[in-house]
């Protein structure tokens, strides 16, 4: 089947053309499936339709029905089935149509999949990917971030890219990883024109577990990930221009395992930490980051560790409500200025 020619829209990188965040993800899936016959896809409407967001458009024709499987509406069922296939040496990648709907698979992911290696069943090469995040007026069930549902479960890895380059490289790394990986794709980034970039033609991965310093600075460290990376760099630029404050922005990229070395190193340099996440506040990842910095770099802190997040509520549907709910660039500026002046 792989002698079938590559679909038009997946040739952009080959041609040296810029790709969107979404196209980068499609390319990663396509290349890994081409490279390794044991990689296959399952999910709702990923075949003929090519997925709710068209990530797997034309994959069915290219790879055939046995490697691009349209499933019944049963996230627990097909994720559990993916675990079984992984036991047998296959490398399933399941798509959750909207990551909000990963919740019916919560049981099998946390109790079966995450514990599989520990219980003696060997490697569990399995990727669970799908769109997350708000700002699209999706309401309470099409806007969630799901990292904190799984961050507390040992055995899982969680990835949340912010650029097309990282999305492709991290997804390839996730597919080659022998541990179960939850891969979150912010739907606001999928087709964002600003994120289009030309990617290397040769095969590359971005290793899991390594944060990226987006922007260097000595006055304040902002730790963030996903769509917030772009709001934070925007705020950082403003601070540099308007306040002369030099902000270091760290993109975690992988949330679990957490690259606290990168965070601690930066905080030891700046003495000030602001964590920014789109997810709700209480129980958000900011807590764990703050805890680790307290454990490892307390003496370097010149100001309280603070956070800018969504408010503690379900994601409301109406635009006016959602904008209030979500953390905005101005909120980052307010908090950063407060810390810089501290």
């Amino acid at each position: 089947m792989t002698d079938r020619e590559t679909p038009e829209h997946l040739l952009k990188t080959k041609r040296g053309e810029p790709v969107t965040f979404l196209e980068a993800i499609s390319e990663a899936l396509f290349e890994e499936m081409t490279r390794d016959d044991s990689v296959f896809l399952m999910g709702e409407d990923i075949g003929v339709y090519g997925g709710a967001f068209k990530v797997t458009r034309d994959f069915l024709g290219h790879f055939g029905e046995s490697r691009v499987i349209d499933t019944p509406i049963a996230e627990g069922g097909f994720t559990g089935a993916a675990a079984g296939a992984a036991h047998m040496g296959l490398r399933p990648v399941v798509e959750i149509q909207f990551m909000d709907f990963i919740s019916p698979a919560y049981d099998v992911i946390t109790n079966y999949i995450a514990t599989s290696l520990y219980r003696g069943a060997g490697a569990m090469p399995l990727v669970i990917r799908g769109p997350v995040g708000g700002g699209n007026r999706g309401g309470p069930f099409h806007s969630q971030n799901v990292e904190m549902a799984f961050f507390h479960t040992p055995g899982l890895k969680i990835v949340y890219p912010s650029t097309a380059y990282d999305a492709k490289g991290l997804l390839k790394a996730a597919i080659r990883d022998d541990n179960p990986v939850i891969f979150e794709e912010h739907k606001g980034l999928y087709r964002a024109p600003a994120l289009r970039e030309v990617l290397p033609d040769e095969d590359y991965i971005v290793p899991l577990g390594e944060a990226r310093t987006v922007r260097e600075g000595g006055d304040l460290t902002i730790v963030t990930y996903g769509a917030m990376v772009h709001k934070c760099t925007e705020a950082a630029d403003t601070l540099e221009k308007e306040d002369g404050v030099k902000v270091e922005v760290i993109d975690l990229r992988t949330l679990l395992p957490l690259d606290d070395d990168a965070v601690v190193e930066s905080v030891k340099k700046t003495g000030r930490l602001l964590v920014v996440h789109e997810d709700t506040r209480t129980g958000g990842i900011a807590g764990e980051i703050c805890m680790r910095v307290s454990e490892r770099a307390f003496e370097w802190l010149d100001a309280p560790m603070l956070r800018v997040t969504a408010i503690d509520a379900p994601v409301p549907y109406s635009g006016s409500l959602e904008d209030y709910f979500l953390p905005q660039t101005d909120d980052v500026l307010t908090a950063a200025r407060y810390l810089a002046a501290y």
Partner: protein, 354 residues
């Protein structure tokens, strides 16, 4: 068959015309929505029940619809707006919900048919499929516990039948003999997925026996056939025979949502089903059997069209919610603050300590 007979199932002309009115309202309200969307008033997804209106209308018409909390109870889907209207869901609220207005029943927090009125007897669905079967099992369990003469009706799609929630909720209702009618909207598609990829059975009635409950299948384009089937099902439920399943057989003639061109569906198949349009069919029968005159029918259509125009206009004129409303009603008694960082607090500075 029943379509050609003149059987009115005991309904008089006035009621038959009410049925037609409900069909018109559903169709016209959804067409108005499309217009509103083109005008940019509808933010989220827009779902049509084109070709399925008779299922929702006929079923709801067979139940006791009251406004004092003593009637039957409904859990609709986005494809069952017709049932919601019959249960007293206000047309203007329907538009407010789709347009995310602060004046709507959920004050802009939720969309489309996702709203509630326990006095009129309906509970809005959530998006995760299958959940409402569990919730309605509990609602009808409460009817049984309190000895109330009420039944519940939950709508769900062919695809939703694949969820574990559907199984757990249905099995609970069956074992507890809850007075619950399960309406499976078999429109032959789950988004782009044909029914045979969601189940290996040809008819969902085959699923009833596995739970020890009765099930029957009905032509979902025939409003009277649906009415009759659900009236019989509700009579059994009321008589203490527990849960029962009714399959509505029809076809989803539009995409899953407005953004779906449905290019995966054979156009000829759609054309086939256009010939079975529930409004056309019922209108023809009304005239054929003299249940209504052409004038009466035209008046009904004009009145419903006008209703929709007026309600839509009203909703358009109403404001979006106040931003701060986003932080209310997370708990009945715990206030949710805006993040602390937005208003630095003096008690956090040592010097400032009194």
């Amino acid at each position: 068959m029943s379509r050609d007979s003149g059987d009115t199932y005991g309904l008089g002309n006035a009621e038959l015309q009410d049925l037609y009115r409900a069909l018109c309202l559903t169709r016209t309200a959804e067409e108005r929505l499309e217009l509103l969307q083109k005008q940019g008033h509808v933010t989220g997804g827009l779902y049509r029940s084109l070709g399925q209106e008779a299922g929702a209308v006929g079923a709801a018409f067979a139940l006791r619809r009251r406004r004092d909390g003593t009637g039957d109870f409904l859990a609709p889907t986005v494809r069952a707006a017709g049932a919601l209207f019959l249960f007293g869901g206000e047309l203007v609220d329907f538009f407010r919900q789709y347009m995310a207005r602060g004046t709507g029943p959920t004050r802009g927090r939720e969309a489309n048919v996702h709203w509630f009125d326990f006095t009129r007897g309906f509970v809005g669905p959530v998006s995760p499929l299958g959940t409402m079967i569990e919730v309605m099992a509990g609602i009808t369990l409460s009817f049984k516990m309190r000895g109330e003469d009420r039944v519940g009706m939950v709508f769900y799609g062919d695809g939703a039948s694949s969820t574990g929630a559907w199984h757990e909720g249905l099995n609970f209702a069956a074992v507890q003999e809850c007075p619950l009618i399960l309406m499976v909207e078999n429109n032959q598609w789950a988004f782009s997925t044909p029914t045979h990829k969601n189940t290996r059975v040809g008819s969902f009635t085959e699923k009833g026996p596995g739970y020890g409950i009765g099930a029957e299948s009905v032509d979902g384009t025939d409003v009277l056939a649906v009415f009759d089937a659900v009236r019989r099902a509700s009579a059994l439920a009321r008589a203490g025979h527990g849960a029962r399943m009714v399959e509505l057989k029809y076809f989803r003639r539009r995409g899953h949502a407005q953004h779906d061109p449905q290019d995966y569906v054979d156009p000829e198949l759609i054309a086939e089903w256009e010939k079975k349009d529930p409004l056309d069919l019922f209108r023809a029968r009304m005239l054929e059997h003299g249940w209504a005159t052409q004038d009466e029918i035209t008046r009904i259509e004009q009145e419903e069209f006008e209703k929709c125009r007026v309600a839509a206009e009203q909703a358009i004129g109403e404001p979006m919610p106040e931003a701060e409303d986003a932080a209310l009603d997370v708990y009945t008694d715990v206030h949710v603050d805006r993040p602390w960082t937005r208003a630095p607090d003096p008690t956090t500075r040592r010097g400032v300590q009194a």
